[in-house]
Point group: C2
Chain length 377, copies 2
């Protein structure tokens, strides 16, 4: 026998999470998650799942029947949208203005479909004119895919306009709302979004590990008329929905649901519904204004222009002569405060300061400003 | 705006989980999971992940470097093994003696590889002679895939013999250990298993949602020499391991890890290491003997013959004239006791009584026997 390792229990400190996610989790959510595990086919549990579905529909502002949470993180939600809708050989216009647009491209190419790239500079939004040009140049494209709120840069794109363009040119829209859901305006039905995914660990302030998704009737139609099977058994929505829907009171087992994580998501969405979406959007905006004023006073410059800056993810350039690692380590060690490093092209050049969900509170903003002032002085 | 739904907090009852999983979760695991969320790149968290890796290695009895937990349930662990190792057009010998062997076939076929089926009756183990015949008949096969402990029937297959056969005929072995890990003898290195996956919610008595996996050096070699990219970005082990390995102290972000769920897995594996694997195997065996004696006294007959019966999953025929649904509903409503329904070919014909991890305790066995006696009388 290989010997047993012996470790003491892991007791994480109480950090203040102001990076790009995970965000500070609501204490009620941590408590909900610790409630006793029940079976994934327990009638009480599947009743909770019905509530959870309506709560996700509310957060997305949709009546889409095919709305649920993927039992895995946002990257798996992204993959769920692509592998269910796109078939090998089909053309997808992929907008790339940061890390996550490029991840979309990788999803498309790995499944044997064709990605047509519309590139925009990091820190700027997706340009609708460039998208329209691509749609015109590729009349055989079936999908338009873009990131609503780029987590790598903090730029917000105009999802409403982009989805209208997709519709105009006969494409289905696939939208990454990982960082936007709950933090800025997002209206799935009104804007005509066909497939959307998010993550539990950003503005919902739930534990990381789940990805709410939703498919429009047009997307469901496309899924039903596939000529090839979905490449992933685990992510096949037709199979998953047999578990998420009570057809005549009966649910079919697909995989064992992450029971406790779903308790957590239910609780975090209950908190969002109680606050009200528009109030949550407003709160994120107000906290951003306070943070922005303070950061500017410290002489820090935003990467993203004001017009399309995300309130929940503030990306600022690291001042010349300042050591990125030293600052973030001091914030973490001395203040238990986490801010985010730059990602991809912005690695070492920028910090990402998150104000997400439960994290978008006045006390967090003040602590962050004061701590940065002390460390930078 | 679509109106906000208002639900009260979900307060699940305290069930006693004696189905095929999720099993009763250790109270320490629920408590660990509720600790404050920290960032997935926090130095303290990645230190915990290093410990977690050694704990998974211990549970699997392996020194494999490529050992980690997939951020999704066991079905995703299965898919991780297949999509990383198998390439389109390659031949896999898939043993099918229950639901999960057939799920392996679906994985293989959906990814464009070829499944050669070795069928054995439900409730019996995989027959090594039939496997050897298939290996002889298909010298171009690259993989042998089978389920160690079939959760749909309760039958245990001889993994050691099957893996030796795979090696003899130049195949890599892919083994489903979802229900076996922690409940019965399993020695990855000694038996020469090349790729293995399990689930958190069976004999580890952790919350559902994670899948420990491990790849042998030969499997890693196969992965490195792929001619085609892995079809799934989310499950691509080469990318995932850049996060799970501290190469020179640096970890690369892949996806946001399910932080709190990993706390839970760390704690459940700590409990297993403290008990000792062999003691845990022995405890499952002893509790099975007590349960078996009681079930036989009640006149219930096992589906699986004694020689290859799983101690942690006891499948018995529903007596003639007894209503499956009525019995299980009464157990759940009156006793808060969950036992499992039959699955696939055994649906409506059998019950599955789990004695998994924390659930394999004398008080559970006694309660189950007494409750069954009362409900059946």
């Amino acid at each position: 026998m290989l010997p047993a390792p012996h470790f003491i229990a892991f007791n994480p400190p109480r950090r203040i999470l102001m990076g790009p996610g995970p965000s500070d989790v609501y204490p009620e959510v941590l408590a909900a998650q610790a409630r006793p595990t029940v079976g994934h086919l327990d009638p009480l549990f599947v009743g909770m799942m019905d509530e959870l579905k309506s709560l996700i529909q509310y957060a997305f502002q949709t009546k889409n029947e095919m709305t649920m949470a993927v039992s895995a993180p946002g990257s798996a939600g992204m993959e769920t949208c692509f592998v269910n809708l796109v078939e090998p050989g089909e053309k997808v216009i992929v907008c790339r203005n940061g890390v996550f647009g490029d991840r979309m491209r990788q999803n498309v190419e790995r499944m044997g479909a064709i990605a047509v790239l519309v590139d925009n500079e990091w820190g700027t939004p997706v340009d609708p004119a460039a998208v329209e040009a691509a749609l015109k140049a590729h009349p055989d494209a079936r999908f338009l895919a873009f990131v609503h709120a780029e987590t790598s840069t903090g730029a917000l794109s105009d999802a409403k306009t982009l989805c209208a363009l997709a519709k105009q040119y006969g494409c289905l829209s696939i939208v990454d709302a990982v960082t936007s859901l709950g933090g800025v305006e997002l209206r799935v039905d009104e804007w005509g979004i066909d497939a959307i995914y998010s993550g539990s660990q950003k503005c919902l302030s739930c534990v990381p590990g789940l990805s709410p998704v939703s498919f429009s009737p047009a997307a469901v139609e496309k899924l039903k008329n596939r000529k090839t099977p979905v490449q992933s058994w685990f992510l096949d929505q037709s199979l998953v929905m047999a578990y998420w829907t009570s057809a005549g009171g009966k649910r079919s087992y697909h995989h064992t649901a992450p029971v406790n994580a779903l308790y957590a998501l239910h609780e975090s969405l209950r908190i969002l519904a109680a606050e009200g979406l528009e109030n949550a959007w407003q709160r994120h905006h107000e906290m951003h204004l306070v943070l922005r004023a303070g950061l500017e006073k410290l002489g820090l410059n935003f990467v993203v222009a004001e017009d399309y800056r995300l309130p929940q993810l503030n990306t600022v350039y690291i001042p010349a002569g300042v050591d990125d690692g030293v600052v973030r380590t001091r914030l973490l060690k001395d203040y238990n405060l986490e801010i985010g490093a730059g990602l991809g092209a912005l690695a070492g050049k920028a910090w990402r300061i998150g104000l997400m969900g439960f994290g978008a509170r006045r006390e967090n903003v003040s602590l962050c400003l004061r701590a940065l002032e002390e460390v930078l002085s």
